[in-house]
Structure formats: structure tokens, C-alpha cells
């Protein structure tokens, strides 16, 4: 039909816009993909402490000092009390310990001597306290058993050497899916921009009052013309989605996308593209000025991408922003991407939240279709 031909001619005339948003996706999407949101490597941090040992380095005291040297970063040069207070205040030092005189003997005798601790206010101080208390708790437990000083120190060392082995039952490396998550979340912007701009530009051309009047007096039924235009809008949007999926295979790699995870990302993005098409269709009924289309597109595409975590991971966004984002379909699309990334095993419990998000996006689509139909009916009466 001639209407389809004109539709695609106008689309091709605006191909520069499609290329632009595709380049943006590839460029910024790639940068975004390399911004990992998942920490996979951990390094134990040794808290900085100061030790004032008033005891001889013998027995438990010697064992304790050896333990501290191994598990903390012992600072010196804090003999001056004011200097130490400043260091604790500014958290240069997490904890200051005063080991009293005859500490090793008192422990061996089961007297429970007290080690004076002065801590800073930060997280490091809590960590240092945990490290110190671990030794002292074990020491006090063995002190009650009347062991000799040498045996006591040996038993504490032996106990501290014991490690807990943790078996990770999940063999899925979820960090592997952070790249497609970032790609598809960034695609929120590109899909919205590409679909809204082109569909609105084409529809605004067909909806110009003069053109519409000419169409109205022609032998072609207006409803049929609208159906053809809507069908072509859907085909165009499907083409955009397909292009981004193919580019996803190129940039992310087929091993990731050619999997159950990839299938979920693909379905989620397809549903979102359908929703973007319905948004574009509604906007095309409201915005007729071609110069206004760019502005509207930026508000919708950029706004929703910023608010829903398309550019910045949702965990970095304030709660108030995320609460507002709940009224936007982009939120459920991006949230579904994050949930797909977090899947460790495919079962109903892990899939249900994703299905729910996709269903919400479908509901948004139906709502936009209904809104477009309502606006059309209102505008049908020319006189």
C-alpha cells in the first residue's frame, strides 16, 4: 500500500537519527558495560592499632603480641598521649591497647586481668576490637583450665589456627551477566529515543492537518490508513529491537546471550520495545510539531533512564527517586534486567519476580494503547 511506502520513505529520510542513537548505545553502552557493579574479590584489611605493653614478652603476652603483629598494623610513635588522642579522633589509629604489668602471669593464674582499650569512632575500631577480643576470649577460656603458661599459649595458638571452610554451593558466576545487564539497561535510552523520535516524526507528518484533510477526502478509509501506520510502527520498532539484539551478540558475546539468561534479557527487551512503541504512538497523537518531538523524546528517554537506573545503577539512586520511578515502565524493565543478573538457579522463586516485572510492562503497554485510542476518538471529530 502507498501509505506503507511513504512511511518507510520518511523513516529512511531520518535514518541519521537511528544511526546516531545506535552509536550512542554502542559507545556509552560499552563504557557502561565495563563499569562493574559486583565485587568479586575481597582483601582483608588490617586495622591500625597502638600497643603499650607494660608486661614482659613472655607466655600469653608474647603469644598475644605475635597474634597482633600478624593480624593488625601496629603503629609506633604515639607515646605522646595528646598525639594518640588526635590519631584516634581522626581515625588514623583504630584502637590503642594498654597491656598491664604481669599480664601473662595473671592470665595463667586465672585472674582475668583487664586490657585497657581506647577506640576511635569508625568501622576500623570495631574490626580491631573483634580481632583483639577473639584472642582474649580464647585466652580467658583456657585460663580456667589450670594449664601451665607455656601450654596455655600453645593451646591458644592451636585454636586460632583452626579455619572455617565455607563451601559455595552455587557455581554460577553472576558477575558474568553484569555486562549484558548494563547493555540492556542502557538500551532503555536507545530504544526509547530511537522508537519515539522516528515514530513521532513519521506520525506527525501524517497527522499534519492539511495532509490529514487530504487523506480524509480520499477514497482510502482513515481507519484502514491508521491500521497500516500502526502496523508499520510495530515493524519498525521490531527492527530496532532486532538491531540492538544483534549488536548485543557482537558486543557482549554469543556465549552469554545464547543461554537461558540471554533468552530472558531478549524477552524482557522485546516487551519493553513494544511498550516504547505504544508510548511513541500516544506521544504522536499529542505532539504534532516536529521541533517539539526532540524535546519530548529527551524528557521521556533521558528522564526515565536517569530516574530508573538506565545510566547509573539503581543502588546508587536515592530512595525518593526510585519511589517515583515506580510509575515508569523503564523501572520494571531495568529492574528485571538486574533480577536476571542475580539469578543463581532457574526455579519458580527466582523467575517469578522477573515475570511479574515483564507483566507490569505489558500492562503499561495496554494502558498506553487505550490512551491512544481515547485521544484518537476525541480528535476524530474535525468539526
Amino acid at each position: 500500500m502507498i501509505v506503507s511506502k511513504a512511511f518507510w520513505k520518511i523513516a529512511i529520510k531520518n535514518i541519521g537519527t537511528i544511526i546516531l542513537y545506535t552509536i550512542i548505545l554502542l559507545l556509552f553502552g560499552s563504557i557502561n558495560m565495563n563499569t562493574s557493579t559486583t565485587t568479586t574479590q575481597y582483601e582483608a584489611k588490617k586495622p591500625s592499632i597502638v600497643v603499650f605493653n607494660h608486661d614482659e614478652r613472655k607466655g600469653v603476652t608474647d603469644g598475644f603480641m605475635t597474634y597482633l603483629e600478624k593480624n593488625t598494623d601496629i603503629k609506633t610513635d604515639y607515646a605522646d598521649d595528646d598525639r594518640l588522642k588526635d590519631a584516634l579522633f581522626y581515625e588514623d589509629v583504630a584502637l590503642a591497647l594498654d597491656i598491664p604489668e604481669n599480664y601473662h602471669q595473671d592470665i595463667a593464674l586465672g585472674r582475668n586481668p583487664e586490657i585497657r582499650m581506647r577506640a576511635s569512632a569508625g568501622y576500623s575500631a570495631e574490626l580491631a576490637k573483634v580481632v583483639v577480643k577473639r584472642y582474649l576470649t580464647i585466652a580467658q577460656a583456657y585460663a580456667a583450665t589450670n594449664l601451665s603458661e607455656a601450654d596455655l599459649a600453645a593451646m591458644i595458638d592451636k585454636t586460632l589456627e583452626k579455619n572455617v571452610t565455607i563451601d559455595i554451593k552455587s557455581s554460577v558466576d553472576t558477575s558474568k551477566y553484569s555486562k549484558p545487564t548494563r547493555y540492556f539497561s542502557f538500551a532503555n535510552y536507545s530504544i526509547l529515543a530511537c522508537v519515539i523520535t522516528i515514530i513521532c516524526l513519521i506520525m506527525s507528518a501524517f497527522n499534519r492537518v492539511e495532509i490529514r484533510k487530504r487523506n480524509l477526502i480520499s477514497r482510502t478509509e482513515l481507519k484502514q490508513m491508521d491500521r497500516v501506520l500502526l502496523k508499520n510502527c510495530c515493524i519498525y520498532a521490531f527492527g530496532v529491537w532486532l538491531l540492538y539484539i544483534i549488536l548485543g551478540f557482537v558486543t557482549i558475546g554469543s556465549d552469554v546471550l545464547w543461554s537461558a539468561y540471554g533468552l530472558l534479557y531478549t524477552i524482557n527487551s522485546l516487551v519493553f520495545t513494544i511498550c516504547a512503541t505504544t508510548i511513541a504512538y500516544v506521544l504522536s497523537k499529542l505532539v504534532h510539531s516536529q521541533s517539539a518531538i526532540s524535546g519530548v523524546m529527551n524528557v521521556v528517554a533521558l528522564g526515565s533512564s536517569f530516574l530508573c537506573g538506565g545510566f547509573v545503577p539503581a543502588e546508587y539512586l536515592p530512595d525518593s527517586v526510585l519511589a517515583f520511578a515506580h510509575i515508569l515502565p523503564s523501572y520494571y524493565y531495568i529492574d528485571a534486567n538486574n533480577k536476571i543478573m542475580a539469578i543463581e538457579s532457574f526455579d519458580w522463586n527466582t523467575l517469578w519476580p522477573i515475570i511479574l516485572n515483564i507483566a507490569i510492562v505489558i500492562c503499561f503497554s495496554f494502558a498506553f494503547v487505550a490512551l491512544a485510542a481515547y485521544i484518537s476518538r476525541k480528535k476524530q471529530k474535525i468539526a
Binding site: 520513505k9 520518511i10 495532509i211 484533510k213 487530504r214
Partner: protein, 312 residues
């Protein structure tokens, strides 16, 4: 000849303002009917009502014997419209635009291609076929607008002020094209406020004012209503009040005016008025630089009927 359009008691109001007031007329097959009237006289509203683009309050409209309605697609297939505003796609070329609007009526590709070529030729845009509307001058754009409206070779064509703001060359081209369409058998409704175009083109004229028909007929029939036979204009450098008074006493003279060195003498009736005027000037030793006579125009008719100029 058959009636192509029959309008009976058409009335259309916008709130309390009657844009079209009890309008009745017919358009015969193969004629060019001019709808003449000043801006706001109801020409475009009448046209939009006939095309079922506007709902009207009262009346009946029949086109090709069928009642016109928004879903009268068989009737619409025989109609072509050239709107006052240029209605083309900026994103399509000249050829693409004509092809699109022709394609709304003609499905066969070969026929369509031929029709598009014919339309390009008719409006003289063959050289501009690959240009976009924004690359065209105002006049060429108007020609494209016409080509888009008539490419499917309709039997009935509505032209709503197609020559507004166009250069003389384009205007001539457009008027020649319209004559060609009539010669090819089309019936044309031509709305304008340019009386010269109506006089050149139209077989019959309807003069509208405030949504009402104030006169209708052929050019000559309408001019007969003006009660003027001839207007003689003389460029005279100087005239005394006595000399001026003398003109009023000439036989058949209805009105005399003299302003900025131009003497206008209106004759109510009589023949050879110009020759008699030259004799009078010679006899009274009044020197003049230029003299010419005019037949009454439709503007004179409008002035006679409404007391105001057509372009007021």
C-alpha cells in the same frame, strides 16, 4: 447537462456566527464555477461542507447524484481537492508526494506512474521531480500542491484559492493548467477573491458575502447588474472647477471624479463613449497625456451590491 453538485439550503454556524446561510446552487458537468467573495465570506466553509470535512446544521448536498457523507468512498474517488494551504510531505520528493496522493486513489502501479508523469507535465514540474518541497519556491510549491490534488484525474475538482501568494509566471501556469483540466472534461469549483482570475476562467460565478449568495450568473450577466456601461479614465494635469462641472453635463455620464491628476468618468449607458470623450476634450482644449476605457469588473458588481470593495 447533468448536475454534478446540488447544494440545497446549506447552513453552517460557528456558535452564533452563521458562516454559511441557506445556500443553494448547482454545478453543471464540465463547467468552471467560481465562488467569489472577500475573506470570511464562507467560500472555504462551503467547500468543506460539500466535501464532508465539516458537519453542517441544515441542508442537503448531492455529488454525482449521491448524498455526500464521510464514508461515501465511491464518490470521493471521483473528487480531487487543492486546499488553500500547501498540503505536502516535506520528507518526500516532488515525485514521491504526487505518487503518494495519487496512490490513495490509483492502486495499479503502471497507471499510477503514468498519471504522476501527466500531473508533473501539467504543472510544469518535470525538472523538479527529485527535489524536496523545501527546495521549491512558493510558486513551484503551489504547483506541486495542485499536482497532488489532481494527479488521479478526478472528474470533479475543488480549487481553494490555489494562486494565493504566487509569482505571475506560476499563476499563468496554474491558470493554464486549470483550463486544460476543464478541456479534459473535469468539472471545477474555483474559490478565490481574485476577480481577474474568475473573469478569465469561470463559466459561471457565485458571489458570496457573509455566507449568502448575493449574485450568480455568467460574467456578462453579473456585469449587467453593475448599472455601469463603461468607465473612461483620463490623465489630465490640471482641471478648473468649471471644466470639471462640464463633464457632468455630458450625455450618459453617471459619475465624475478627479483626484491626483486622474479624471474618472463613469457612463451609465451608451456606445462610443470613448470617442465622444476625446471629441469633448479636443473641443474644450483640455490637454491630456493618457486616455482609456474599461468595461465594468466584478468588483464594480460587488461594490454595487454591497457598497464595499471586494478586497475590503
Amino acid at each position: 447537462m447533468k448536475n454534478v453538485i446540488e447544494v440545497k439550503h446549506l447552513t453552517k454556524s460557528y456558535k452564533s456566527n452563521k458562516a454559511v446561510d441557506d445556500l443553494s446552487f448547482e454545478v453543471k458537468e464540465g463547467e468552471i464555477l467560481g465562488l467569489l467573495g472577500p475573506n470570511g465570506s464562507g467560500k472555504t466553509t462551503t467547500m468543506n461542507c460539500i466535501l464532508a470535512l465539516l458537519k453542517f446544521d441544515e441542508g442537503k448536498i448531492k455529488i454525482f447524484g449521491e448524498e455526500m457523507a464521510p464514508d461515501a468512498y465511491e464518490t470521493k474517488a471521483k473528487i480531487g481537492v487543492v486546499f488553500q494551504e500547501v498540503a505536502v510531505f516535506d520528507e518526500l520528493t516532488v515525485y514521491g508526494n504526487i505518487e503518494y496522493f495519487c496512490g490513495l486513489y490509483i492502486e495499479d502501479k503502471t497507471t499510477r506512474a503514468q498519471y504522476v508523469e501527466d500531473a508533473l507535465k501539467l504543472v510544469g514540474l518535470e525538472e523538479n521531480r527529485n527535489q524536496y518541497p523545501k527546495q521549491l519556491s512558493g510558486g513551484l510549491l503551489r504547483r506541486l500542491n495542485i499536482a497532488c490534488g489532481i494527479a488521479h484525474k478526478p472528474k470533479l475538482i475543488f480549487l481553494d484559492e490555489p494562486t494565493v501568494a504566487v509569482d505571475p509566471q506560476s499563476r499563468n501556469n496554474i491558470l493554464e493548467g486549470i483550463k486544460k483540466l476543464r478541456d479534459d472534461g473535469a468539472t471545477i469549483i474555483y474559490t478565490t477573491h481574485y476577480m481577474e482570475e474568475v473573469e478569465i476562467l469561470c463559466d459561471r460565478v457565485i458571489i458570496l458575502d457573509h455566507g449568502k449568495i448575493i449574485a450568480s450568473g455568467t460574467n456578462d450577466e453579473l456585469k449587467a447588474l453593475a448599472k455601469i456601461e463603461e468607465k473612461v479614465t483620463v490623465e489630465v494635469a490640471e482641471l478648473s472647477p468649471k471644466q470639471l462641472g462640464g463633464f457632468e453635463k455630458i450625455k450618459n455620464v453617471a459619475e465624475v471624479s478627479y483626484e491626483n491628476g486622474v479624471l474618472k468618468v463613469v457612463y451609465g449607458k451608451g456606445k462610443n463613449n470613448l470617442a465622444e470623450m476625446i471629441e469633448y476634450l479636443k473641443a474644450n482644449r483640455i490637454s491630456y497625456s493618457r486616455i482609456f476605457a474599461e468595461r465594468p469588473t466584478l468588483n464594480d458588481v460587488f461594490l454595487e451590491l454591497t457598497g464595499k470593495e471586494l478586497r475590503d
